[in-house]
């Protein structure tokens, strides 16, 4: 067979696999573009999990009850686990975790810009669980069916844990809303600050999302940004009502005809600013990650040296 016909056969079987809704596995042939897109998407997701530990992690030592402390510590630990599952999935595509981490630290790969907002009170922990983890779930449940097998399987574990994250956040908010007036104010203030950034987590509107079509064709992505965002709004409005908080959008109203909640326009210039590195906490988040990586280097080297010595002694 000539080279071209090999490529054609490969491409045909790849396309057929996707069309049959089957999974692509690590050692299958795949187009370079698919591999590149997959690595970028998984890495960006992994980075988000790891950077996402920081805003909430700041509150572990300060949590106001031992029960909340245990819950938060376990939640932040889960996020580290999510990062690891995902880096592990990226490595099946030939990426290297150390290399991905360097790309993150050098600003060559992105993470979810939601984590560039500061956490100002303990109510933020609850609102992050409810809205941020909630939005993540909306985004991620369809990814359990991603065409790339290892990614889909990692997402199953992750979604399982995310649903606990959302529940614990909502439960914290319900408890706080039953507390003092000051606590109720804290909750409302946190909702005011996190609502719009949560909506931005679904990415730019469909008509401005250039890569979406290819990702849909490859079944890396299964719903459009706007579709998922609408689903999130529809779910969140009754939850906010039950909680007794107001969502900071005067244009929010039920549209009988559409069968959905209408919501006001999103300030995309704000999102662009935060994505391009001008959010309130961008520099801090990356600096913390860089420091942890650098300060840990001597420890990792020592362990590698020790393992080598042991191996040599055994040989």
């Amino acid at each position: 067979m000539t080279d071209t016909s090999v490529t054609e056969t490969n491409e045909k079987s790849f396309t057929e696999t996707i069309a049959k809704d089957q999974r692509i596995e690590p050692r299958d042939w795949m187009p370079d573009g698919y591999r590149r897109t997959m690595i970028r998407q998984i890495a960006q997701h992994a980075h988000s999990e790891i950077i996402g530990m920081q805003p909430e992690g700041e509150w572990i030592t300060r949590a106001p009850s031992l029960r909340r402390k245990a819950i938060l510590l376990a939640k932040v630990q889960d996020e580290a686990g999510h990062g690891l599952y995902l880096y592990s999935a990226a490595e099946t595509l030939g990426a290297d975790r150390g290399d991905l981490t360097r790309r993150l630290i050098e600003g060559r790969q992105k993470y979810s810009s939601i984590f560039n907002y500061p956490t100002l009170s303990f109510a933020d922990v609850g609102v992050i669980g409810w809205l941020v983890d909630g939005a993540a779930i909306c985004n991620q449940v369809p990814l359990c069916r991603s065409s790339y097998g290892p990614y889909g399987r990692a997402m199953i574990r992750i979604c399982k844990e995310e649903s606990f994250h959302q529940r614990q956040g909502y439960e914290l908010l319900m408890t706080m809303m039953r507390g003092t007036p000051a606590q109720r104010e804290m909750v409302q203030d946190a909702v005011n600050r996190w609502w719009w950034p949560s909506l931005m987590m679904f990415g730019p509107p469909d008509d401005q999302s250039p890569n979406s079509a290819q990702s849909m064709a490859w079944k890396i992505k299964r719903h459009s940004n706007d579709e998922l965002r609408q689903r999130f709004v529809d779910m969140s409005v009754p939850q906010a009502e039950a909680l007794g908080v107001t969502l900071p959008d005067p244009e929010l109203r039920w549209n009988e005809e559409r069968g959905h909640w209408d919501f006001g326009p999103i300030d995309w210039s704000e999102l662009k600013r935060v994505i391009s590195g001008d959010g309130p906490c961008n520099a801090l988040r990356i600096e913390n990650r860089r420091r942890a990586d650098e300060e840990g280097a001597w420890v990792r080297e020592a362990a590698a040296a020790h393992a080598r010595r042991r191996q040599e002694a055994a040989a």
Binding site: R23, G81, E162, S163, A297, R300, A303, A304, H306
Partner: protein, 98 residues
Amino acid sequence: MTEEIKHEWPLFEVFVRAKRGLNHVHVGSLRAADHQMALHHARDLYTRRNEGVSIWVVRSDDVAASSPDEKEAFFSPSGDKVYRHPTYYSIPDSVPHI
């Protein structure tokens, strides 16, 4: 930079037997300096301190794998036993839609 890559820990594949009566199943990979550390980490990462499960770790570069090109020769005889193919495993219904 290249200097540092040399010091990175090797990759290990992790297999977990969730309960008695089941096979060990591949769950993912992790990095560790040695086997002992890999077992520790596997317990922390993939079983979250759950006692009573059994874990195997194997250096990823020690795994010999068939190539998809050899599909015919290797897998045709068992083509009817579809559960041998990783793609067969469907998504559990219990994946939460909140």
